[in-house]
Subunit: 449 residues, 2 copies
Amino acid sequence: MSEGKLIIIGGDAAGMGAASKIRREQPEREIVVFEKGYHTSYAACGIPYYIAGMLNSSDDLIARKPEVFIEKQNIDVRIRHEVLEIQAESKKVKVLNLEKQQELWESYDELLIATGASPIVPPLEGADAEGVFALSSLQSGIDVFKFMEKHNPRKAVVVGGGYIGIEMAEALLERGLEVSLIDMAPQLMTSLDEDMAEPVMEYMLENGVQVFLKEKLEQIERHTDGKVKKVITDKQSLDADLVILGLGIKPNSELAVKAGVKLGEKNAICVKKTLETSVPGVWAAGDCAESYHLIKEQQTWVALGTVANKHALVAGINISGGKAEFPGVLGTAITKFKDLEIARTGLSEKEANEMNIPFKANAIEASTLSGYFPGSGKIRVKLVVEDITGRILGGQIVGMQLSAKRIDTIAVAITAGMSVQQLVDMDLSYAPPFSPVWDPVQTAARTLL
Amino acid sequence: MSEGKLIIIGGDAAGMGAASKIRREQPEREIVVFEKGYHTSYAACGIPYYIAGMLNSSDDLIARKPEVFIEKQNIDVRIRHEVLEIQAESKKVKVLNLEKQQELWESYDELLIATGASPIVPPLEGADAEGVFALSSLQSGIDVFKFMEKHNPRKAVVVGGGYIGIEMAEALLERGLEVSLIDMAPQLMTSLDEDMAEPVMEYMLENGVQVFLKEKLEQIERHTDGKVKKVITDKQSLDADLVILGLGIKPNSELAVKAGVKLGEKNAICVKKTLETSVPGVWAAGDCAESYHLIKEQQTWVALGTVANKHALVAGINISGGKAEFPGVLGTAITKFKDLEIARTGLSEKEANEMNIPFKANAIEASTLSGYFPGSGKIRVKLVVEDITGRILGGQIVGMQLSAKRIDTIAVAITAGMSVQQLVDMDLSYAPPFSPVWDPVQTAARTLL
């Protein structure tokens, strides 16, 4: 067990979670955190709701501020410090103090890379126009909010129909903007199968979002004052006072790779189950690192808050001398657009196909509550199960209130290696205000028997 | 496999569920159902919400009417026919046509007893006064509804603080009545541990129900016209225009025991996992029959709609010549009082004590959603886990909207034999409108590590 100086690069969930765990285990250890932004430990997933005007302040999203880490936990957090280089052989990092524009070298005994991920911004004409945003840090959310306060945009174009695109479409609609959403793909939410993504699109259309699929962003035009004017696709031109780019994210692994750390899936940092990288004494956690997928049985890249928090715990335990292994992910994710809830876990039909697993899949429609109960709405549940064995491989849910959290039932069943029969047999809860007597998840399972 | 004449006693979930399954498997088989009431296949769990005035009509609670079974499924359903006696040796039943007051004997090759359960009505002075009700059949709910329409009661006393008592207190409050609730026990909801039942009582008090614990119903006084006037306990006298007795239920197993069928736990009909009784060719399903408990590893009596539906399926498969075994129960149950949701599964602390299982238990308080998200409320989650192994034995949840359905996550984990560590490791869904980043169920698990 090392008690030597630990440097952590990145002050969000993974970095600070690990720092806190290590501090609890090793009260005397020197822990230095370099965070290039202004904030620590914030809920990036909450940014769209902040922009929607649903929160009191951006501070609501901050779980713990740097001064609290410094004063209460004796963790030496230095915000506005960007690590420019890692020298793994000599165990030191080159750091730029962004406020003073001074560089310094800081040595470490152990290093945790928790640099997160960044939005993909295409190298297009006009992508840097004023009013064009890609969400990443809390600061980027604050920038959007301030822009809206100042310029009161009327027309927004959201580029990309994934989680961020859908949540931002809701947020901007909530703020009274006209919202168009474009996506290159033939469907929204490519983590869902097409039959499950379709009701999402229908619902968005019904609720006033103009959705354009199979359209490629080609250029962004700006006014003479530099502000965004139009979004040009391969099919049309859309007026825009505000553009949100939700074109996906990529792991921030450049520092690591330059230091000789091996990369893996989608250029995420390759880690063992302990979260140690290929370089001894150098660890990685959170959105910049790989995760083992329980069904794919291989390393994958899943950048989600839940995973970052679990990474933090595992890395923290190992760095402070304990023993822990990352348990693995299923890619469980959940979101909503207005009252429509959306969730998925495990393998989609698409992924099962890619893996050449023989499977059956089926989607059913049921009601969220007892059909006669006020507020009961539609729910669509899809299960993907292995042929012959009936083992559940994945699930997708789209439906009205009380639909999506049911994905957890499926996630636990998958993790336990259960079959559809076992899911049908399960003693799940029922009362009219909560569910039909057969939970929709079980109804989906029954049709696959 | 028998193709002989099947008689089913009881036309609710278990009886009609089995009948439907058998009809699908055996299109030509003669199936006769005797139901002493007026209705078939209704949602008894919905009765309080019907009384609350939340539904359009009592018909909303009926999943399928007798004429539909007769005409569409060729099942010979005879309502208002009460079976008075089973002669198991000669394979016949004595039936009373309640409309014509005629008795007849009907012979069978196989028999399914699905007689349900009845409310316990204490043999007290005044228990039969007008305006005193014990809920059981749909008809009993209709009777309450009609009584309220006709007499417009102002003060109600609910006797018993279990599921029905709590749901009826909500319903009557909803209808504008003053509601008092009395219970002999030192806590409400005895299927919960005391620390979890306490917030339920607090919430009921805050919402205007007068709750009196450790009070025993002694007598019901009536007006000279026969209508209820007062409820007398061992401590006080309460004015009442309406009294609901929710003192628990007992299995309707008298017919069975007189026919030589063995009884088991709490006088429920003793069944094998196939749902065959001790008498070959005689089956039992639903609220009148036992169920295997997955954690207690013994037969128990759990009278719930979910169980009745699963019984129906298993009995139906076996009676029509297939092979199925009842998978077992955890006693998963869920309800709500206004906005407070309540759920439980597996063993309570009390039950673990009774079974002499060494265990740890802990309850945590968390928020239902990300704390900053509008509408986030309190949730209390308790887990009971086996000492040393950490295997999850039971869970209880009390909290605001979006709390209680999380019990299913625990139910699946228990069924899979998972430990608290495995629950912590689970890839559950997170987004601010749905959950904190660690689901409260996982937070409860973490504190037990």
